[in-house]
Point group: C3
Chain length 473, copies 3
């Protein structure tokens, strides 16, 4: 028995499947490029063993937690303690058994496919996880994790990762990245500049963050121009630590392009704590345009991740904190939202703005036409809830006919679940092969073209987008 079929995710049609196999064979063994994600750089700095199976695969994975919660399991039962210090399960084997008992809930989800890949490929299982196999799984995984070849750096090498970007806050001292570089290990782990907490007046630490920003940079964050200089300064620090990109998580893809005088007045109001209604949103909107301008100047690729309503469940958020309170996508409007920024910098030579969406109705209607016209704009891959077989197919079907393949950027795993990285790239490559094969099978593409496109999506476009070594553009 086997958890993974060699033809998984390919069309069942024999002609399309045969073509998909050929295309996939051409990209299967290419290195993994992971230019956007949320792994903890401390793993690679310390190279300490990962803890037990539940702490590696269940407790930190919000895809897993949400599904279990939705069917009545509690955070406490999964070993997640409330912020007030209340009790939670401490027996990780008990957490794992609960997970195994509910593993059937993931049927039809990408989480199941990623985990089965990890179970077979990394830990050698061929019997499905379930109540009967829970202990066998727990024991074998625990035994593996104790071995040197399952430490973070060994896995990084085993996975064939050519580069991995993490994401750090603008105020992060970047110590782990420094430690990685100074360690002599040759793994290519870089950072990404994420300034949200220093760009959002609604963030509860906004004022303190600007004070810290002043301390770190020596810039006067008490006025607009000094504040922008502080960002420029920090961006330079991040670039020195290897960063090739910035990342911006915003509730709405709203941009603005105010006159300098208005910017200064707006900054003064939010900095003085005398913001008027709408000021915080306007400030965030203006800061996206400022960040785009800085990217046009310093060459960092800009990534915009909009449209998530954070922590919809207030009581869970209050009890368990961020990333536990159910982030939910919402409808967005990129046409009005991005116009100010695109009119300001959309034609800037060399600028690269990668936009992601959680509202797939915008793909064909707004984003593909925008990316298929503005030189600066590129489409990020299907993101978060949409990083899944049917959703990825819908993504390609929605954007390709208007924007083609070459206004997209290849795959991002965008994960904090390090062991899932090969599984996610495997899925993405198979889905690319399947999508291309179907278009060869109905004669929209020639097979030679499909091979070229597959390679572009796997390595060429990520390298070009993030200006990585090996880029030809």
């Amino acid at each position: 028995m086997s958890l993974l079929h060699p033809d998984r995710l390919f069309s069942p049609d024999p002609s399309a499947r045969a073509i998909a196999r050929e295309i996939h064979a051409g990209i299967r063994d290419l290195p993994i490029i992971s230019p956007h994600g949320h792994c903890d750089p401390a793993w690679f700095a310390a190279d300490a063993p990962f803890a037990d199976p539940a702490s590696l695969l269940v407790r930190p994975d919000h895809y897993v937690l949400r599904m279990l919660i939705s069917q009545g399991v509690t955070y406490e039962a999964l070993g997640i303690a409330p912020l007030d210090g209340g009790a939670a399960e401490t027996d990780m084997r008990a957490v794992w058994r609960r997970f195994a008992q509910h593993y059937y809930l993931f049927r039809g989800t990408p989480t199941r496919l990623w985990l089965d890949f990890t179970f077979q490929d990394l830990f050698g299982f061929d019997e499905p996880l379930g109540p009967d196999t829970a202990d066998t799984y727990f024991d074998r995984i625990a035994e593996c994790l104790a071995r040197p070849e399952y430490r973070p750096r060994a896995l990084f090498d085993r996975f064939g990762i050519e580069m991995l970007a993490t994401t750090e806050d603008a105020l992060d001292p970047l110590d782990h990245h420094r430690a990685i570089r100074e360690s002599g290990w040759n793994g290519n782990v870089i950072t990404t500049y994420r300034p949200d907490a220093a760009c959002d007046p609604d963030h509860d630490q906004f004022q303190a963050n600007l004070d810290t920003l002043a301390e770190i940079t020596g810039c006067d964050t008490g006025h607009w121009d000094g504040y922008l200089d502080a960002h420029r300064n920090r961006r330079a620090d991040f670039r020195a630590a290897g960063a090739v990109a910035t990342d911006h998580g915003v509730a709405m893809p709203q941009t603005a392009d105010l006159a300098a005088r208005e910017c200064r007045a707006l900054f003064n109001r939010v900095r003085a704590g005398s913001a008027q209604p709408g000021d915080a949103a306007l400030f965030r909107a203006q800061m996206l345009t400022e960040m785009a301008r800085m990217s046009a100047a310093d060459g960092m690729t800009m990534q915009i991740h909009p449209g998530s309503q954070r922590n919809l469940n207030r009581s869970v958020f209050e009890r368990f904190g961020r990333d536990k309170g159910f982030d939910i996508p919402r409808a967005v409007n990129f046409v009005d939202g991005l116009s100010p920024m695109l009119n300001a910098v959309g034609d800037a030579p060399g600028l690269r703005i990668v936009v992601f969406t959680l509202d797939e109705t915008t793909l064909a209607r707004e984003l593909a036409p925008l990316a298929g016209a503005f030189p600066a704009l590129l489409l990020g891959p299907a993101w978060w809830f949409y990083d899944a077989p049917d959703s990825i197919r819908r993504f390609r079907e929605a954007v390709t006919e208007t924007a083609g393949f070459y206004n997209t950027v290849g795959f991002n795993d965008d994960t904090r679940a390090f062991p899932s990285i090969p599984a996610r790239h495997d899925m993405a490559r198979r889905l690319d092969a399947a999508f291309l094969a179907e278009r060869v099978a109905d004669h929209r593409l020639r097979e030679t073209e499909a091979h070229e496109i597959a390679r572009a999506l796997t390595v060429d476009l990520p390298r070009r987008t993030y200006r990585l070594a090996g880029s030809t553009a």
Copy 2:
């Protein structure tokens, strides 16, 4: 010749089709569970013969009427008289011939598939309906309807219906359900609590309905607390008549969670006829949350059917009345809309809120992420215009990757067309089998899992959702 192919609605791919046949064979003969619909309980109370073919299959079916109207046939020509007493066709054979003449219009629609199923399975036809066969059809159906085995109770048994829920207004005396129970017939026909006309200040009988509610319940509907008590009282009456669920048809899925003092003041304004702009909408929004609270207390499953703009065609509505004036779906926002209710009761143990949508863009973006996180929330099946092969596939593709199968509730036929019930469940089971088979064929699911899921969608999840006999949860 035959109207129905045994492999209808299965993938033409031989491997996927073979798997679909196997899966379908495992669920084909399971009993029909119909927990949400609009059949008339009087049929089963009186067990009188159905009238002529046109009155059974054409005149009451708004799917059929809309399509004929859209191509220039008039209501009058279909035997639907204006409210002002104007003339309409009274010759039901003439109505039937008009229908047969236009039957080609339904090509590609589910109505055609449901009707062909009924024609073959219930009335034994194997030649298609059309102008040439109109009279043959009319005569044979009329002859059948006169026979005892075509009376409502006999059909109920023949169809293999395990339970059927109708829907009654909060003020309904439930006489028909009482008559059914007292008749000694063992058919399981229950009611559902539908309080819209007593929760909507914009309803033209709102004040009178609250007066009647007071009379029926003995509660003082002149103030907020008495009004809520009256609902509790009526819900208990409905539960005594077998009800397991409530149903709420609202234009927008908007909820509110006001402080008690605000609720009282709001009620006083709408009850005194001094409502301010926005009060009616706010009252409806608050009542959804109140109904959810009552469901958390009394265990009735709550069903929310939002997003239909009723009677868009004012002149047709004025001439012919409700359900004739073209109800049209509109875009909705579940994230903002449901937040107040979900924050109030979304984590309540045992509460089950089933949400339906006519805006399929909300499925992947809003409803699957919400249902895949909040314990109380479940996804109702593809509804109304979307109860059709391509739409049902899109429903599953949109929700499964985020919410899985187990946050959905199986199939609802939601119909007032009693003869179509087996046809609709047949279609749903075939589409489930086809959907699962494709995921087995591309190795996303194992075949044993697909069989389990198919059975869950057919009987286990409906039983669990509505706490029916046989439920294991």
Copy 3:
């Protein structure tokens, strides 16, 4: 080698493909009906040779230009000069080489399929266009264009065009159409009434256009009733020049139905240049309803093309002018938008309003339910960015289950790229055949029905919709 496979765009499944071939064979050779497009009537009036390959196939095609611009090619490099008289490439062979060098960008887009069809079918190529074949292509196409059989009228005949509608502004003298009719050539080229520039108070020439309208018609466009008379007068002129339809491009599908007194006051404000905020939008909305009323009276089919945000890129628009500045679709609301017009004239006997959309979320949610109920409303085919294989399939899947096939109108090529017309109709016919074949293969339709529907979509429905010769309705 060949650029075109005979089975292109058919399902790879052998059973569905065999059926698709049969269906396609029945419609492949039917005449082309092109009731909506933007060819230049001067081509057929003068019958002059087309210029060089780049001026025929690259420079006027905004699909081609947008994609090249999106990847950093400039308008100037493509031979498009700025409005200020700045320099641009004048060597058309150089433009063509640039195009050939970037032709890979169109992989996966309909442009590539249309162009390959034109390259093979019209110019006899069997090697793909690319940097290596650029000169061969340029030379052979240039050589062809110099020959009499590549002149506009000869191509019109060769393409098998039964009728072709162009689109002219309300103020157009229609000289070219007069010249065509007086030339003795028997090609059926007619005009279409497009009054946008005389209906939109925000148009920069609105006042001058109304003055001209008065001069042409002799009507007093200084007051509302005279202004409406002027439109009636011009519509009669257009009908005399063969027109069967009007066309309305509006940013939003917003209609209004004001009382006559309000219309007069509104007109007076916009005509006096004293419009208040919202007046221009309200005027456009009212004019759609007025145009629908005129269509109900004079029998011209009304076409509404809403939802394009014109010239989003202001600097490109200012430098290069209209149709260069990136038109982008946006979300629209047909339910609220069309209600006033549909309530005013939606039941008018014989009225035909064809609605198109660039927001495909409205297809299943709004337009199919509206067209499947209101007699006047018909659904235009997938438009602009959506005139492509996957998008056309989504169109049919979204509308058919609710509106059937017979509330749609067949195909419009809507193009100004004359050589692409056969390619576009070829694609549409293949996609119809493929869509129908899949429904025959899974037994939703009988094969005889599929043949009838295919013929209806190709010739019967266009003829009926636009009341063309040969129409049976």
